[in-house]
């Protein structure tokens, strides 16, 4: 199944009025969309706002999404348009550019630090990020060959369960089970790093 179809089930739920199904898509694509917008918009503090706006615009336009392209392709285009729009509005608004200029000129050391480090770039966040990446890599290497192959074929090669079943010469149910067990094994290593009481925060 191509990624165009991978989101079809959730999108059908959204079209039936299931807003939570849309939230599931938000969780799925939020990091990638923020990264995309971050490449277009230099002020990193604006990125979350533009990304949120992207998802809201996508939600409103869901009735027009007909599955002719992959959902992520469609979402990507909305993100680019939303970022462009935001950049144009920034250029037009003299108050915002004046504030930006003023804060750059400010000699105060504290505010300079605040301006230079966004949420994601504080030492704590960078460390957390490295720990997560390291944990995932360690966990992948610790997997059995079958589990590692299954999750690699799925996540990196983007193959469908059917295709993976053919390649690994096993039933589709086995593919499904292996991918699930691989994810859970990696998640077990991650959970201590992901913060306490995460279940409640979600």
């Amino acid at each position: 199944m191509t990624s165009a179809d991978a989101d079809a089930a959730l999108i059908e739920r959204v079209k039936l009025g299931d807003v939570k199904a849309f939230e599931m898509l938000v969780v799925k694509y939020q990091r990638r969309i923020e990264r995309l917008i971050g490449r277009m918009v230099r002020d990193v503090d604006l990125v979350p706002d533009i990304a949120q706006e992207t998802f809201i615009r996508a939600y409103r336009a869901i009735p027009q999404f007909r599955g002719e392209s992959a959902f992520y392709t469609w979402l990507y285009r909305i993100a680019v348009n939303t970022a462009k729009k935001a950049l144009m509005e920034l250029k037009r608004d003299p108050l915002i550019t004046e504030t930006a200029r003023a804060s750059r000129d400010d000699g105060d050391e504290t505010s300079r630090v605040e301006n230079e480090l966004s949420d994601g770039e504080t030492p704590d966040a960078v460390l957390a990020s490295k720990q997560i990446a390291a944990a995932v890599n360690l966990a992948i290497e610790a997997l059995s060959d079958e589990l590692r192959q299954a999750i690699t074929l799925r996540e990196i090669e983007g193959l469908s369960y059917e295709e993976i079943a053919e390649m690994m010469d096993c039933p589709i149910g086995t593919v499904r089970s292996r991918i699930f067990r691989a994810r859970e094994a990696i998640a077990q290593r991650l959970r201590p790093l992901l913060g306490t009481r995460l279940d409640e925060r979600w």
Binding site: M1, V19, V26, R31, R60, R66, S129, A133, R183, L190
Partner: protein, 226 residues
């Protein structure tokens, strides 16, 4: 397998398969309901996708509290949106999107008009129009009725959202008492609404009113005897 007998491990395996788009609509509905109700399921959905992102690109290894905050912000903004409804007719359902399908002949006339109404630029305005209709109609159809009308009628429908959570067009908000003229076509005319419509030219005129009034005409007729 009924949702009551699904163990946590089995549910998480469904969730994992859903992340890959390998789940049928019935099981998708169950998984979505559990996602809604269970924080551990939500945390797992996030973990599975974080894992996939990190496997493909280490710069997506982001500390999850940012992701939690992001979803909370989107949720907050979604709560202010009208609930989007664009049900696909049963015959067209499955993993293929309905695309150009229109439900039935009765809906076809209104069906052609509804898609432009829900484009993002006009959606807010339309919700306002519909909302005004529901507030000024002397008797609103029951939510269940309106729901049936909605599913029988048009392919896309923007519903007003209230805290009391009626997703039908006819919100259960009690209508303020206003004197209204009933013109001969049976459409409830409200002077304030007419002023609003005149200001928003694209909705003014009987053809535009033909969209909601076709919907409302059946509703008003149903309630006439009450």
């Amino acid at each position: 397998m009924s949702s009551g007998s699904v163990t946590e491990a089995a549910l998480l395996e469904q969730l994992s398969a859903l992340a890959d788009g390998e789940v049928d609509p019935a099981d998708t509905a169950v998984a979505c309901a559990r996602w809604r109700d269970d924080g551990r399921v939500r945390a797992s959905w996030h973990a599975y996708h974080l894992i996939g992102d990190v496997l493909r690109s280490e710069d997506l290894a982001i500390e999850p509290s940012r992701d939690v905050a992001f979803l909370a912000a989107v949720r907050d903004r979604l709560s202010k949106e009208a609930v989007v409804l664009a049900p696909i007719p049963k015959a067209e359902r499955g993993f293929r999107d309905a695309g150009e399908a229109r439900p039935n002949d009765a809906g076809a006339r209104t069906g052609r008009r509804w898609p432009w109404v829900v484009s993002s630029a006009v959606a807010a305005g339309f919700v306002g129009v519909v909302g005004t209709f529901t507030l000024t109609r002397p008797s609103a159809p029951a939510p269940a009725e309106a729901q049936a009308l909605a599913s029988a009628g048009s392919p896309t429908l923007v519903a007003s959202r209230t805290d009391t959570a009626s997703t039908a067009v006819a919100a259960s908000t009690p209508a303020p008492a206003r004197s209204l003229a009933l013109d001969v076509s049976g459409v409830v005319r409200d002077p304030a609404l007419d002023t609003y419509l005149a200001a928003h030219k694209q909705f003014a005129g009987s053809t535009a009113l033909g969209v909601p009034s076709a919907f409302l005409r059946s509703a008003t007729v149903r309630n006439y005897g009450r």
